[in-house]
Structures are given as C-alpha cells and as structure tokens.
Amino acid sequence: MFTEVVFFIASLTAPEEIGTSPQSMLWLLPLSAAIAVVYKATKLPKITAVSFLKESAVLFGSIILFVVITALVLHVVAWLISW
C-alpha cells in the first residue's frame, strides 16, 4: 500500500503523455461533466438523487451538443475558406 502511495505522489511530478491527436479532445468530457455537476449543485433549490442526476445529465448533454455544433460550423467555415 505504501509503495502504491509513493508511486502515485511521484507520478504527480511528471506529466502524462498526451499527443495532439483528435482523441485528445475527449479530455473535454470529464471537465464538462464537472462543470455540469457543480453548476447544478449551486442552482437546484433542493437536491434529490433523481432530479440532480437528471438535471446534470441534461446540462452535460447540452454542453456537448453545443461543442459539436460549434465544431461542425468551424469545420464548414474552414472548408469554405480553403475550397
């Protein structure tokens, strides 16, 4: 157990290897989930498991949808410029 803890702390002094591949964009997913969860935790007047999960999921979906639409629009604009 102690060895694992030491290895974990040591891993915080060296960065992970993340390339500039399209897959690296997937790192936006956990961040969007955190934003949705914290925002809904501040906004809901009363927190119950069902309503909180539902509201957070809807907001998370909205963020992702907006990001995808923005990416598509930018892609079309880039295509039109380079065409």
Binding site: S11, L12, T13, A14, P15, E16, E17, I18, G19, T20, S24, W27, P30, L31, A34, I35, V37, V38, Y39, A41, T42, I47, F52
Partner: protein, 133 residues
C-alpha cells in the same frame, strides 16, 4: 443595534467565504447543506487533482503562468504550497499536458469561486430571514 446587526452579518459572510475557499464545499457544510457540500467538494477535488495528474504540479507556476495561477489559487490557499514548490519552472511541462492540466486546475478554481459566491448568497438570505430583514 442596526449597526451591530450589520457588522455581525458582514463577519458571518466573510467567515462563510473564507471557509468555502479553504475547503471547497465547507461553506455549504456549515450552512447545513450537506449533500451540496459533498457534491461540490468531490467534483472540485477530482477536477483539480485530475489536472495535476495530467500535467504534473508544474502546471501551477506563480512566476511563469501568473494568470492561470490567479484562477488556480481560488481552489484553496493550499495551492500556494504547490506553487511554492513548482515556481519558476522547477517541474517543466509543455504542450497538451500543460494545456489540459492548466485548464482543469483553473476551471476547478473558477467553479469554486461560483460556489463561494453562492454560499455567501445563501448565508445572506438565511440571515435576512432570521433577522426579519
């Protein structure tokens, strides 16, 4: 009497703000909003430490990345300790890990700012109700 009440309210609001800053969610916990406190603490702590895991403690740099540091320090004053260790590029990190690490740690700080403001607002509303204001 009114001045005394007003003074007490300001002290209470500053106390809640400081509590929320020292430990994310602690302000809510003190206001007996335990579910909210647990959710906020867990989400902010995971986001911050994920950023540190991705980019290393090198993403916290009060010397070479002052603007990012301004957002990161809102997580907790404890971030200053990490900043002291990694200041001036002691743990160099470049490219995507640096970008993603800085974004994660800074966004978690800004989320904590949202929670600090919300907890202070909640404390103000409750205090006003109790004192009949």
């Amino acid at each position: 009497m009114t001045a005394r009440l007003r003074e007490n309210q300001i002290v209470l609001l500053i106390f809640v703000a400081l509590l929320s800053w020292f430990v994310p969610g602690a302000g809510y916990f003190w206001l007996k909003e335990k579910k909210r406190a647990i959710i906020v603490f867990t989400a902010i702590a995971i986001t911050f430490w994920l950023g540190i895991y991705i980019g290393s403690i090198g993403v916290i740099d009060p010397v070479l990345a002052k603007t990012w540091y301004a957002a990161q320090i809102i997580n907790s004053p404890m971030v200053a300790l990490l900043g002291y260790v990694s200041a001036g590029g002691n743990f160099p990190v470049y490219g995507k890990p640096n970008e993603i690490g800085q974004i994660y740690t800074s966004v978690s700080g800004l989320l904590n700012l949202l929670c600090i403001v919300n907890a202070v607002h909640l404390a103000h509303v409750r205090w006003a109700r109790q004192s009949g204001g």
